[in-house]
């Protein structure tokens, strides 16, 4: 039936006590009194453990413990008060010593005493729970010492009472009271309850301490209650008195402590709110990645932790202002206040949280609500102001320093949140960019010739090394007639996918034009005409177009802003740099007027070198360019070798030169070797 072993034990002890009481209804024998007291104390002990377990199970708030004590106390008050009237009839024989009071009286008094067992034990265990609640230091020893002395005091009551050792009894009693008082002062949990609870606690503590005092006085009074307890067990009586003193002391101290806490309760409440909000918010920052959600939370908490009536965030993005997360304010008012802050130059260069009040009458009269105090806190990342957290108070109220500090903390958090969301966007952007570059590289690969042409009088070799970002290099060969071979090398301005698309366009233009027009100059003029129309104003294409008449052994050359052609002949490098502006840079008339075409007679073993600035602008550790000098030197050195060999040699040299520096631009190298085909 009863599963709890402590309760079983307690009930067994009570039955034992009842049997004992019925057998030895009264005795002067020390031994018998001691056995009686020991049984009583043991029962209380077991009951304490049981009640402690029950309290721990429920884990009640301090205030509900207090209320429970109050209810039990009130009940005890009525029991004591009416004990005279109700019980005197039953206990008329109590006064008379050595008389069997009878079974009914004994059982009734047992039940009466049991009520106090429960009441007193519950009070003690509640005090124990309150004592340890939110205790920061280890105070166990104080409480345990007190329990020991209470025990000693109870035991000594029966043992030493009326003897010459009575002073021992008194000493234990006094020490117990001192310890009770000492332990009653430790009320650390009061700081953790809110103002409303403190106010109700104030009222409760007065009533309960009064009840304890009344009960204490009543116990001492010459009434049935006192006699009955003493008769039942002197130790129980002593325990009852000590507990009532404890209660009176504790609740008196509680009253005063609470009273002193009332004036600061508001500040405590707000600080507690601030701390819990901060915890909540810092958790949120790491979990919520959507900036708009965070902004809402920031303004929400701003109102909670400060005395602000309204709050919003003003973001500055690319010079544009955007108001977000408005709380408790009309958009028109927010707009008006923002404008006011900007026009009165209050917001422009602030680096710290600042308190203002709207002192412009015109602005104030325009507001639908009477906003007075304004608090502006900059949201910063890496010293750049990204926006402002703005809070406002209504009804002529202004902000104080505490509001400033609280809001500043939150604006700092908000800054972190902005930075987080920015970093996230950046990584998304980076991923997107990488994908885009993959596409660009793929386009470029498809645009460039997959194999070099094979001709009788000309050996051709080429190398293309793409840069990570796709530099927009393009080259191509066209075998347009039986004895005609043309080539083009170009560099599109800009990088990435946009450069790749222009390359595709450029390839289309040259592929078409090379079939219908012979002259490099005419081809470039036509190309400029098309590109001038299609390219955006800030992009252009540098190109070099050459055409070789295989029969006449002549090279015709036109250059539109591209790197010059190097011709290695007789251990000398000759630079051919006919005048010409990059494609798309100028109107066609001007372009045509300034474009030159050169004609070169080709000699045996001539080496023609075409390249893009990716080669000459390759950089070493000291950021020096590879330059055209090194290029021609190495070309001269290897002039008698095959085109493939020279290409390898130059690329090798460029790679070694710029090995410590990452390749920034595409590298393109084309070498044409006239009549040196090794068969």
């Amino acid at each position: 039936m009863i599963k709890n072993s402590k309760l079983q034990l307690f009930l067994s002890l009570i039955i034992l006590l009842a049997v004992y009481k019925l057998s030895f209804f009264a005795s002067d024998s020390y031994t018998l009194v001691l056995i009686n007291d020991t049984l009583v104390i043991a029962s209380i002990w077991i009951l304490s453990l049981f009640i402690m377990g029950k309290i721990k199970e429920k884990n009640p708030a301090p205030l509900s413990l207090i209320v429970n004590i109050g209810i039990l106390n009130a009940f005890a008050f009525f029991v004591i008060t009416f004990s005279d009237a109700l019980m005197s009839g039953v206990f008329e024989r109590v006064d008379k010593q050595n008389l069997d009071p009878g079974i009914i009286s004994t059982l009734v008094s047992l039940i009466y005493v049991l009520i106090f067992f429960v009441f007193l034990t519950y009070v003690l265990m509640s005090f124990r729970e309150l004592f340890f609640y939110k205790q920061t230091k280890n105070m166990r020893i104080y409480f345990q010492t007190m329990l020991v002395f209470i025990l000693l005091s109870c035991l000594s009551e029966s043992v030493f009472s009326g003897t010459e050792f009575a002073y021992i009894r008194t000493t234990f009693f006094v020490v117990s009271i001192i310890l009770i008082v000492v332990n009653s002062i430790r009320i650390s949990w009061i700081a953790f309850i809110n103002k409303k609870e403190k106010l109700s606690l104030l009222a409760l503590s007065v009533i309960i301490s009064a009840l304890f005092i009344v009960n204490l006085v009543n116990s001492y009074a010459d009434g049935v209650h006192g006699k009955l307890l003493v008769e039942f067990s002197p130790a129980l009586n002593q325990f009852s008195i000590l507990m009532l003193i404890y209660g009176a002391a504790y609740f008196s101290f509680l009253f005063f402590t609470t009273m002193f806490h009332i004036p600061t309760a508001d500040v405590y409440d707000r600080k507690a709110q601030e701390v819990s909000s901060l915890q909540y918010f810092s958790k949120l920052i790491t979990e919520v990645l959507d900036f708009d959600d965070l902004a809402e939370t920031v303004t929400d908490i701003t109102i909670k932790v400060s005395s602000a009536d309204a709050a919003w965030i003003l973001m500055i993005e690319n010079g544009n202002n955007k108001t977000i997360a408005i709380k408790n304010a009309a958009y028109v008012d927010v707009d008006l206040i923002n404008q006011y802050l900007f026009s009165s130059k209050k917001i422009n260069n602030i680096t710290d949280t600042v308190i203002y009040s709207i002192d412009d009458f015109v602005v104030r009269s325009g507001l639908s609500e009477k906003y007075g105090g304004i608090l502006v806190s900059p949201l910063r990342t890496h010293n750049n102001v990204k926006g402002f957290l703005i809070a406002s108070r209504k009804n002529e109220l202004i902000f104080y320093e505490e509001d400033k500090n609280a809001i500043k903390t939150f604006s700092d958090y908000a800054s972190v949140a902005i930075e987080n969301s920015r970093l996230l966007n950046e990584s998304i952007e980076k991923e997107r960019l990488e994908k885009e570059l993959d596409v660009a590289r793929e386009i470029q690969k498809k645009i460039l010739p997959s194999e070099v042409p094979v001709l009788d009088k000309l050996s051709v070799s080429s190398v293309f090394i793409p840069a990570f970002e796709v530099g927009g290099d393009y080259y191509d060969f066209f075998e347009t007639g039986e004895d005609k071979f043309s080539f083009v090398i170009a560099d599109v301005s800009g990088k990435g996918i946009s450069a790749a698309f222009i390359m595709a366009e450029v390839k289309g233009i040259f592929q078409t034009l090379s079939r219908i027009i012979d002259s490099p100059k005419e081809i470039l003029i036509k190309a400029n005409q098309v590109l001038r129309e299609t390219l955006s104003r800030n992009s252009f294409v540098s190109a070099l177009y050459g055409s070789i008449d295989l029969k006449k052994e002549k090279l015709f050359l036109a250059r539109a802003g591209h790197c010059p052609v190097l011709l290695v002949r007789n251990s000398k490098a000759i630079e051919f740099k006919p005048a010409g502006i990059g494609l798309g840079l100028s109107g066609n008339e001007f372009f045509a007027r300034t474009l030159e075409e050169q004609e070169i007679d080709l000699l045996d073993k001539d080496t023609i070198i075409l390249y893009t600035d990716g080669i000459t602008e390759s950089k070493n550790t000291e950021l020096n360019d590879y330059g055209d000098k090194r290029l021609s030197e190495i070309a001269i050195e290897n002039a008698d070798k095959t085109a493939d060999f020279i290409v390898k040699k130059i690329i090798n040299d460029v790679t070694v030169f710029s090995s410590s520096h990452s390749q920034y631009d595409d590298i393109t190298l084309v070498i044409l070797k006239w009549k040196q085909k090794i068969i």
């Binding site: 301005s493 990088k495 104003r537 800030n538 252009f540 540098s542 005048a579």
Partner: protein
Amino acid sequence: MAEFKTAIKENGNVSIINLAGFLDAHTASSLESEFTKLIDSNRYRIVVDFKDLAYISSAGLGVFMAYIEKIRDNNGDIKLSGMSDKVFNIFDLLGFPLLYEIFKSEEEAVNKFKEINSSEK
């Protein structure tokens, strides 16, 4: 790449943009915004000084092309000055000397504008 900085100063009705550092595809936008600002405030006589510029890429060159038509339509011009040999070579290769007046120093470029000023009066 490394940093890029611009600074604007005024000399009469001529605005001078000083460039420093590396002007490439990544930094070109900050020069673009300087040009936009000048054009928005109707200042069309612009000298770009390259004295402290270490490097310019093709995207950097594009910036000058983007605004020149609008500026010339408004009776203004962009004049370039103080280029190092390396920077000049890049401009030269593309044929920029045919499109822009390039001066040794900032003063010469400013004076050229002043001459036009006085001849207009």
